[in-house]
């Protein structure tokens, strides 16, 4: 199907009242989750994932993707007004957004972020629309070695350019994800694996309770610590028509920066493994590097709000592209959404375009409409959203815990899954404190089965030798990149040591 008729099909899906209602609900929930500092977009998607079992997949994917965009917009509000990042990908907005707000230009800072987001979203949506089909068709020719090489590259990205996490801890979390995924019946021989003779473990670990625990509950516990610290300042903001005009004018003056940030963000998003958070920091770096007066950064430079937000939003959209076309999520949030696809009985990957065009193009259509909804709500309701920040933690916590329990239980009607949420929440708190990254575990858990089956088929094709991975025209270079990424931390350590030695001498 060509992109234009695909898009037409997509919009006809989005504008069905049932789907539109769930898209709207997703964006609203995303905005609320984005504003709440104790709960991130990834946890939000994870907590709501089980509830999507009760609605049609086309509406479910729109709701979850809408939640992602809502969280991308919502995080902006807390970063700029309260100096607290509501989402990790909004953390960088604190540097320049909050100084702007303090200087009485909160309205301008917020509207600029929203307008940049919307603009970047449209650039990336166009890229998404026109790249999806060629990429999927290209991927149709992939055999197990190519698929395994791409999966390996996704994990190598975590190790090589993970978000400040120790490469060793990243490796541990990836391996733990694979091992948790391996528990249950072996996918080829049907033998019970790693079940230690118990019957409970025969069905394996479901990724949803683990994700809810590691992200949702662990995040709540980490933010419990912050309750022991002092309260935050708040700046009031009301967005007016003049702010919108001023923001569009600012944007027009820096159109190229914005297009560059969006294109870069989209690319970062498409790369397996990394998502909106690193993209936002890279967007900030880009803006500062090409600024005529970089000394203003950190004191309220409007580019410091514009470029990171554009890059973050573009990366969010980009991260869904490899998810639907290749079956490899581009970001942790995309990984959780992909878990949803499996749950609804869909297999992400190139064949999805042929088997379920209504689903794929509905998602593409909802990218456009969802962003417009998010933008509209932000412009109209920022003061209301900012008020959500003041909902007491003591009311919010039990509420989130009970929704998490409900979701975990509803998947299999099993109390075992509820215990999994709790255990992974408590363990996840300690791991988070020790800076073990949670995202690689989730991605490994979701990708465990596909990675293993690609691995085993590759070995069968190579008669027991993995050399076939390096000799095929597409998997060869991919393996090269993957190995380079795996070695990157080692190379970096050697270089720093050598530099230190030179300085000492």
């Amino acid at each position: 199907m060509d992109p234009i008729s695909g898009l037409a099909l997509g919009f006809s899906q989005v504008f069905q009242p049932y789907n539109l209602a769930f898209l709207f609900l997703g964006v609203v929930l995303g905005l609320v989750i984005g504003v709440l500092p104790g709960l991130g977009g990834t946890s939000g998607v994870a907590i709501l994932l089980p509830l999507t079992l009760f609605i049609h997949p086309n509406a479910a994917i729109m709701m979850l993707a809408g939640l992602y965009w809502g969280a991308v917009y919502g995080g902006v509000i807390t970063s700029i007004l309260f100096n607290i990042p509501g989402e990790p990908w909004s953390a960088v907005l604190v540097f320049d957004g909050h100084p702007l707000a303090k200087a009485g230009r909160a309205g301008l800072a917020l509207t600029t972020a929203f307008v940049s987001s919307l603009f970047a979203a449209f650039v990336s949506n166009l890229l998404f629309t026109f790249f999806a089909v060629p990429l999927a068709e290209f991927a149709l020719g992939f055999g197990p070695p190519e698929i395994f090489a791409i999966m390996l590259m996704a994990f190598a990205t975590f190790v090589g350019i993970g978000e400040g996490a120790s490469p060793l801890k990243t490796l541990i979390m990836i391996a733990l994800g694979f091992l948790l995924g391996a528990v249950g019946l072996d996918l080829v021989t049907g033998q019970p694996r790693l079940t230690f003779g118990t019957i409970t473990l025969l069905t394996g670990f479901n990724f949803v309770p683990i994700t809810i625990g590691l992200f949702g509950i662990a995040e709540l516990l980490v933010s419990a610590e912050e309750q022991a610290r002092e309260k935050v300042e708040e700046i009031k903001a009301r967005l007016g028509w003049h702010d919108l005009v001023a923001a569009v004018r600012e944007l027009g003056r820096r159109l190229w920066l914005l297009i560059a940030a969006a294109a870069m963000g989209f690319w970062v998003g498409v790369m397996p493994g990394t998502g909106a958070t690193p993209a936002s920091f890279m967007g900030y770096g880009l803006a500062r590097q090409y600024s005529r007066n970089p000394e203003r950064f950190g004191k309220g430079a409007i580019e410091g709000v514009m470029a990171p937000q554009a890059a973050a939003d573009a990366a969010g959209i980009g991260s869904l592209l490899p998810m639907v076309t290749l079956g490899v999520p581009g970001s942790p949030t995309a990984a959780v959404i992909m878990a949803g696809l499996f749950m609804w009985g869909l297999i992400p990957g190139p064949k999805l375009f042929q088997e379920r065009p209504d689903f794929v193009w509905g998602l593409v259509g909802s990218l456009y409409v969802g962003h417009l909804i998010g933008f509209g709500l932000c412009i109209l309701a920022t003061p209301l959203l900012a008020a959500i920040m003041r909902v007491p933690y003591a009311l919010l916590t039990p509420f989130i815990v009970m929704i998490s329990i409900l979701g975990a239980y509803a998947i299999n009607n099993s109390l075992f899954d509820v215990w999994i949420v709790l255990i992974f929440g408590l363990v996840g708190y300690v791991l988070r404190k020790l800076k073990y990254p949670a995202a690689p575990l989730i991605v490994a858990l979701v990708l465990g089965d596909p990675t293993e089956s690609a691995f085993r088929q590759t070995l069968i094709m190579g008669h027991g030798s993995p050399a076939i991975l390096f000799t095929r025209p597409i998997s060869g270079p991919l393996m090269g990149v993957a190995i380079l990424l795996f070695l990157l931390p080692l190379i970096r350590t050697v270089l720093t040591r050598r530099r230190a030695q030179v300085q000492q001498a």
């Binding site: 790693l194 516990l221 007491p392 020790l434």
Partner: protein, 161 residues
């Protein structure tokens, strides 16, 4: 007063836990067969490789923690840890009570009591709120979505939840 655990103690503990877990899983994988069988690679191969990565990385994490023990900071402030326990304990209680009191009663009690005890909110405001949320949830899930959630031990005797 006992000293608080420092970060490197926990690093060592968690690293060692991963090593032990890896050893157990390596044994399981080898018992399962991690070589080449009639249908290609045996089921234990992939878990074996994963466990080897986990175990060796865990050892290195321990080594790093032992080397940098002098730079270690406290894992968390006492006041912070206290907050975490105060938030975590009711969560555990809610999960433990779930099979006895059922989802709806636990929701009402947890919401109400946590807000009174932790948030120091007036009980006459939050207890009704907890009950209201539970009632709304009951009608939404039992009747609306037809999701069957855990019931209390009183279910069927004189209570519909």
């Amino acid at each position: 007063m006992r000293r608080l655990p420092r970060t490197h103690h926990l690093e060592l503990l968690v690293g060692a836990a991963f090593v032990v877990l890896a050893l157990v899983l390596i044994r399981e994988s080898v018992l399962l067969g991690a070589g080449w069988g009639s249908a290609g690679p045996q089921p234990g191969l992939f878990p074996l490789l994963s466990a080897l990565v986990m175990g060796s990385s865990g050892l290195l994490v321990c080594a790093q923690a032992a080397n940098h023990s002098s730079e270690s900071s406290p894992f968390a402030e006492r006041s912070e840890l206290l907050e975490v326990v105060k938030v975590a304990a009711p969560m555990v209680a809610a999960v433990v009570l779930l099979p006895y009191l059922g989802f709806y009663m636990v929701t009402a009690l947890y919401l109400g009591l946590f807000a009174v005890w932790y948030g120091r909110m007036p009980w006459y405001l939050v207890l009704p709120l907890g009950i209201a949320v539970a009632v709304v949830a009951f009608y939404a899930f039992e009747q609306g979505f037809k999701v069957l959630l855990p019931k209390s031990i009183f279910y069927g005797y004189f209570l519909p939840f």
